[in-house]
Assembly symmetry: C2
Homo-oligomer: 317 residues x 2
């Protein structure tokens, strides 16, 4: 789920190998695309000496949101998280020509914690016709000691006026078969309210992933929207991020931290096996869909194998 | 699933018991609301002597679509269907004041058939502030000799310019856990194409059921849309029904008839039990959500008990 971002820019990526003109406008002039090309992502030490990821390239409200969310998760779950063990060349990597740049940040949970791992990522790639694609994501996975939903946010920005937002607590059970689960995590928590708040903004349109599998693994309260500002007016998109996406994302993360990451759930032995099976399949399928075909194209076979191999290893534990 | 219509007009129904003014415009003058109020639904004999339901009150394109769909299903599945055994007072019923009128048409499948039953229904109720609500639906349920998806269409018309459409092949398995099933019935059949065709029409907007459970049981290719024509221009809605909904609904029904109702599937004994359990739960929950609270309010306790009791009995077989 976490690194499903490439799915959302399939159409963009396909432009790399086709002769179709790419119609994106230039990225915001405030984003130092070329200047940052060869620099490593800025990773600073947090108060607990664990690395805090930053999210370069994107606009200040977009970056602030992601930094705040990751910082909230790391602060709140700090005692449950192990230090990052990702090799430096998976924490940050780029293609030979320096037009694509990516970064992962993963921290696993202690054995005694319900946290499986948290995963932050960003990807930046210049588009052949100008402008850039920036994808930032944060997800938190729970292990099979609980059946509570995971957390996922992903922002896919293909220009300074266009953004796709995926924000969800993806369920870990078949909701049709578990109405009590639906009530506990989605109805009683009023998780549909943030979605309703967002949908009345005129620039907000529904977004459908091109992958039916990805659509199948989100919850009925998932926010999957495309926000389209007027061409040339990047200010409006930044305003929407700041005034609407920011509080809504923090509200959903708060629900996840309070109701999912902290709550006690009874999970029997056979149910646990079922959960592990379902979790593993979803993680494996989403890597395959999102990264499998796009990563080699963006970064070359060697880097793709190294990065995906490491992610897959963590996902299949 | 089939009789989930009341869910979609929760907001409308709530106006019956609140002092909030109801803002719907009058129904199309071509619909003889009062004249038909006390008449029984027109049920005529088909070529095979089974009753064919008609759909009174609604506009000609809406009625033609529903009659065509039901007729197609009955003709195609004829040899597999038993005659209707519904008591006349469940086939057609109305409240004491004659302001609400409903009709069900159910035919079960032969024991040797994969068809569990087909269900057509319509509901008409006058709104306290003028106009009327008309809901028509057709669904086809398969039994546990196959795990193929069911079929569902529902049109909810709250004025001559406003319509909600639900069109889907609701899955009978957890799609996150069964990507092969998703590929067979949703990807290989290109079921997302009709949804994409419809979403580009300017009057078509996404529709979210107020029930999260209902949202959880539909497929990722489900068409759940609200079509809003300009007030006073009922011609445009009729045109959209005729030119767009009609061919799309027939295309989706065709996929269901060819790929789901006719295909052979291997279903093992334990899987069969799981399917029955899931099917039963979904049917029971959707009756509870859709009809449980609204039917008594619309038709009075006695009629509601009779009608719902009969439907529940068929659903739990």
């Amino acid at each position: 789920m976490a690194v499903r971002f490439c799915n959302y820019f399939h159409p963009s990526l396909s432009s790399f190998s086709s002769s179709k003109p790419y119609s994106l406008t230039s990225a915001s002039p405030s984003l130092p695309l070329r200047a940052s090309r060869l620099s490593r992502p800025r990773i600073s030490a947090s108060s607990t000496s664990s690395p805090i990821m930053e999210f370069p390239y994107v606009s200040p409200p977009h970056r602030d949101l992601m930094v705040d969310l990751l910082s909230t998760v790391e602060t709140r779950l700090d005692s449950q998280l192990l230090p990052s063990t990702l090799p430096p060349d998976v924490q940050s990597f780029q293609n030979q020509s320096g037009t694509a740049h990516g970064s992962f940040h993963i921290r696993s949970g202690h054995d005694s914690s319900p946290i499986d791992f948290i995963l932050g990522s960003w990807l930046h790639c210049e588009l052949p016709t100008g402008g850039a694609l920036n994808i930032t994501s944060l997800s938190s996975y729970l292990n099979s000691s609980t059946d509570a939903p995971n957390f996922l946010i992903e922002l896919i920005q293909s220009s300074s006026t266009s953004l796709i937002l995926i924000l969800d607590l993806p369920p870990r059970k078949d909701l049709a078969l578990h109405p009590d689960y639906l009530r506990t995590f989605y109805e009683d928590t009023k998780l549909d309210a943030p979605r309703q708040t967002l949908e009345i903004i005129p620039e907000v349109k529904p977004y459908f992933s091109s992958s039916l599998y990805i659509r199948s693994v989100v919850s009925p309260t998932a926010i999957t929207v495309r926000i389209e500002g007027d061409a040339g007016d990047s200010g409006r998109l930044e305003e929407i991020i700041k005034q609407h996406l920011d509080p809504i994302a923090k509200q959903v993360l708060g629900i996840w931290l309070d109701q999912c990451a902290s709550g006690k759930r009874e999970v029997g032995e056979s149910e646990r096996a079922g959960l592990e099976n379902r979790d593993k399949l979803i993680k494996s399928k989403t890597i395959e869909i999102d990264l499998g075909s796009n990563f080699p194209r963006l970064f070359g076979r060697e880097i793709a194998d190294r990065v995906l191999g490491t992610i897959q290893e963590i996902f299949s534990k």
